[in-house]
């Protein structure tokens, strides 16, 4: 499995194939549909990411120096974006996750989902993923 940069580049290349927003969003929707389900026991308020218009649940565990994320949302496009984030960050080392600037989101033209008007959902999601990584790193 590749490192974060390799995974990001892979996604950027995939998105370059789309010539219009319809294809891109259809792809996001498909990604959303195929996101592996989160264990139902984590779909509680405790794992809710705050400040998203759609509800997002995020859970992470740390095994053999790698962070593994699982997540779900009640909105499909949000789920599709989550699937991208998980593809890039899940299975990586905590230290690498914290350092990464997630600039690929910009490059694949999904920057608008980071904006304040989307209630900062994606930004909060990324922050929460990094907080998990930080906590794991501190705990060793």
């Amino acid at each position: 499995m590749g490192n974060i940069k390799e995974k990001e580049n892979e996604i950027i290349r995939e998105f370059e194939l789309f010539d219009d927003w319809m294809d891109k969003y259809n792809y996001l929707i498909e990604l959303g549909k195929s996101l592996p389900p989160i264990d139902e026991k984590y779909k509680t308020d405790k794992y809710l990411v705050k400040g998203c218009q759609a509800r997002v649940w995020l859970y992470a565990e740390h095994n053999d120096g790698r962070v593994k994320y699982s997540a779900d949302s009640d909105a499909l496009i949000t789920k599709g974006i989550i699937a991208l984030l998980i593809r890039v960050l899940s299975g990586q080392a905590a230290g690498d996750i914290i350092k990464n600037d997630m600039s690929f989101i910009d490059e694949i033209g999904l920057r608008e989902h980071l904006s304040q008007t989307r209630s900062n959902g994606l930004a909060n999601m990324i922050k929460q993923m990094k907080l998990y990584a930080l906590a794991f790193e501190k705990a060793g």
């Binding site: 969003y25 218009q53 759609a54 909105a75 496009i77 949000t78 989902h113």
Partner: protein, 404 residues
């Protein structure tokens, strides 16, 4: 005036969004501004800017006169008895906060009750919660019917000896329901209960006559009625305003100040502490002239046509459900696809150049009652067209397919 001609007065409507012509259907959040409003504000800063009620110089007199004339225009616009009953605020939110604070200070005692409804905007809930907790009073909530209307029987029975005030919205921003304000006020007055009406969603669409309504307070925002942001109005009957202590304090609101004692200025200045937002007050005045020139009858008939057309077109889309079916509805249409999150609908509509609002519309308690995470809300204004409704309907049909 034809709608195409009218659209030319709104420069922003020529914008393209995501490579498509902008279809702006988020008028309940804020309306766009006609040139005459934009120019009035710009002209103030070019030609008249000066601090008011103070200097004795030429510009100050000019600005003061313009500001006080605007107050007179607003008085006549809502048919208040006196200009001193018109207080300029930052908007509906500040108007309600002012009353919740100052009326609360004077009249709310332990065990008293404030009545609101289940369809209130957060800005007509939270200030009352705070006032109630401060004075150990209780907030009572009138429920709504399945059709999304105020439950009038429940309203009648909730009023009692302890009710100090009822604060009810004229038009619901989330559902479009037009409440029977006149009847609400009459019922409350029989119980000696004064009434505050949240008119934020009413003044863009219908003639408001505060004397005919006989409301005790009426609040509205400039930016929802083709005027600028940052300015709004509190109308209050003199008999209440005269008794209420000031809200904010500082310059403008005082008569004499020494370090021992301050005497407050008279109405309306007592409630307008600090340098007011003169430019936007003048912009609001220009917006009222704009509305008056169009005429509420013509505005209403155009908007009703759009609403009916939208209901017909959207009603044909599979699995699309309207959130309310009130007998009287302003040009606000809230709907949801039962199997699609409103957020997804909103994102995809935006991609197709259609601006709507999705989410809870600052009415979370109402969303809980309706058991939805939020709604998609299309809201129409004077410059919208049936072609734009077609674009909305086509876009929704496409989203239906994409997310099938």
């Amino acid at each position: 005036m034809g709608v195409q001609e009218l659209r030319r007065s709104f420069p922003i409507l020529e914008k393209r969004v995501n490579n498509r012509p902008l279809v702006y259907l988020d008028n309940a959040a804020t309306t766009q501004k006609p040139l005459e409003v934009i120019e009035r504000i710009s002209n103030y800063y070019r030609e008249e800017n000066s601090n008011i009620h103070r200097g004795a110089h030429y510009l100050s007199n000019l600005a003061t006169e313009a500001y006080e004339n605007a107050r007179k225009s607003i008085r006549s616009f809502i048919n208040a008895e006196n200009s001193s009953e018109i207080i300029f605020t930052r908007g509906t939110t500040e108007s309600i906060n002012l009353v919740a604070h100052s009326f609360g200070e004077k009249y709310l005692k332990k065990g008293d009750e404030i009545v609101i409804s289940a369809m209130e905007h957060h800005s007509n809930i939270v200030p009352w919660q705070i006032a109630c907790s401060r004075h150990e009073a209780r907030l009572r909530v009138v429920p709504i019917t399945a059709g999304g209307e105020l439950d009038m029987d429940a309203f009648r029975s909730i009023l009692g000896e302890k009710t100090r005030l009822a604060a009810i919205t004229h038009v619901s921003n989330a559902l479009g329901t037009i409440n029977p304000a006149r009847e609400i006020i009459e019922i409350a007055h029989k119980n000696d209960t004064p009434v505050l009406i949240d008119g934020a969603q009413a003044t863009p669409h219908m003639k408001v006559d505060v004397r005919e309504l006989d409301c005790d307070f009426y609040c509205f925002s400039g930016h929802k009625m083709y005027g600028p942001m940052g300015v709004g109005v509190l109308y209050g009957k003199e008999k209440w305003l005269n008794e209420m202590p000031p809200y904010q304090s500082g310059g403008e609101m005082i008569k004499d100040v020494s370090f021992e004692k301050t005497t407050y200025n008279e109405l309306p200045f007592r409630f307008e502490a600090g340098t007011p937002n003169v430019a936007d007050v003048l912009g609001l005045e220009a917006a009222t002239s704009f509305i008056t020139r169009l005429g509420y009858d013509d505005i209403a008939s155009h908007e009703v046509e759009l609403l009916e057309y939208a209901k017909e077109k959207l009603g044909q889309i599979e699995k699309l459900r309207f959130l309310a079916s009130p007998r009287r509805q302003s040009s606000v249409l809230s709907f949801i696809f039962d199997d699609i999150h409103p957020y997804d609908t909103g994102v995809l509509l935006d991609k197709m150049g259609v601006a709507v609002r999705t989410g809870h519309h600052c009415t979370q308690p109402l969303m809980d009652i309706l058991e939805v995470p939020g709604t998609v809300r299309a809201s129409f204004g004077v410059y919208n067209t049936t072609e734009e409704v077609d674009i909305l309907a086509d876009a929704l049909a496409r989203i239906r397919e994409m997310l099938a």
